[in-house]
Chain length 249, copies 2
Amino acid sequence: MSTSAELDRLRVVLVATRNPLNLGAAARAMSNFGVMHLRVVNPFEPSFREARSAVGPAADVLANAAQYDSVADAVSDCALVVGTTAIRQRGLQHSVHRLDSAAVQIRHALAKSHVALVFGSEKTGLSNDDLSHCHWLLHIPARDEHLSMNLGQAVAVTLYELSRESKTLPVAKDDPPAAAAELERITALLVEALETSGYATAATLAATEEKARRMVRRMDLSGRDADVLLGMLRQVLWKLRVAGRDTRS
Amino acid sequence: MSTSAELDRLRVVLVATRNPLNLGAAARAMSNFGVMHLRVVNPFEPSFREARSAVGPAADVLANAAQYDSVADAVSDCALVVGTTAIRQRGLQHSVHRLDSAAVQIRHALAKSHVALVFGSEKTGLSNDDLSHCHWLLHIPARDEHLSMNLGQAVAVTLYELSRESKTLPVAKDDPPAAAAELERITALLVEALETSGYATAATLAATEEKARRMVRRMDLSGRDADVLLGMLRQVLWKLRVAGRDTRS
């Protein structure tokens, strides 16, 4: 297994989970593999209550689970956000990596920062909005005729692969990557800039925001670069607002 | 994923499974990873009926599941029988291999013969008698504080590891190994020989049989050697019986 220090930086994020058995199963798999930080986003409330009241070896994971209202909040301290999908290719918006190579990249990131692993609801998976918070996606190789896995089993297989012993990767000595909260600030400023500039209208704003969020994630920004970009955007936005006022005056 | 020809030689054997959800979850994981041959030994009958009546992508696996009264029958056509355990070391009776190295050996065996992967009941795992039919055991690496995995998740993780792509192993050109049915015939003749010879008494017979069965599995016999051994045992037994009659007369 990987060092517990690394796995301690991993956050498992379950979005809109409905079935209390699946919440319990995911927590049990986490406990098996030593991944103790569960975050739930908008769970079906009675299910979350029921799962939390359960006794057993996974009770610790569930009792300490943190609840969030949005994926953005749930991943805000993570430098890498990886979504999970049963589909091999979701258009060109995201790159999709097979679990084994995804695990190598995730372990690499865990050596220096927090990583979120995001699982969608049993029925619909991750929404386009959920996906827009992800840097890239992973899929578990399965039979073409039956790609969709049970949630608890998908969590178990993913954490098994992540915790398996591997050749230690050299820790890159470049800048640590930007945290998701920084990327989200950049996205917000960018969208505001796009809106203020008239690029996005009220009708296209939601689509533009999603597009911007994905693009910012693909940039793979370091924390230092994110700071620089934020400064630039703030300045641009200030100027846009001033110009807007000037035009209106 | 491994070639489907190889996975088609794999038999998943569930012993005394009680919970229909676990039967369904195991079947679903099998279907995900392209392992279609399920064998159940003494399942809790209402659970098996309920699981078989379920619809969904794993229905094929459950509908075609074969039911057996004993582990011996369920593994009789398999040249390698691997038990699963949450425990790292079960005394010195069996060697226990970690899943990743176990998978290499199992894929190697699947290249030329059938392999059974045996999972015990949720509550008690595999009994000593069940274990006596196994050549060796595998365990999934997990946290010391929480070794015991959910049945469906254990099946999913094991089949994921078995179906992962791997460097192709050279197929050994030595004799194909003996099937479990041949090993069981050898065991039966040996036990009869031990009983007839007075080695085993009525009080020790069950223990002797278990001991003999394990020992025969550890021999790693080829089919050809098994034939030779059977011939030898038949002859020995015939002589023992004759001697017994002579002594009594």
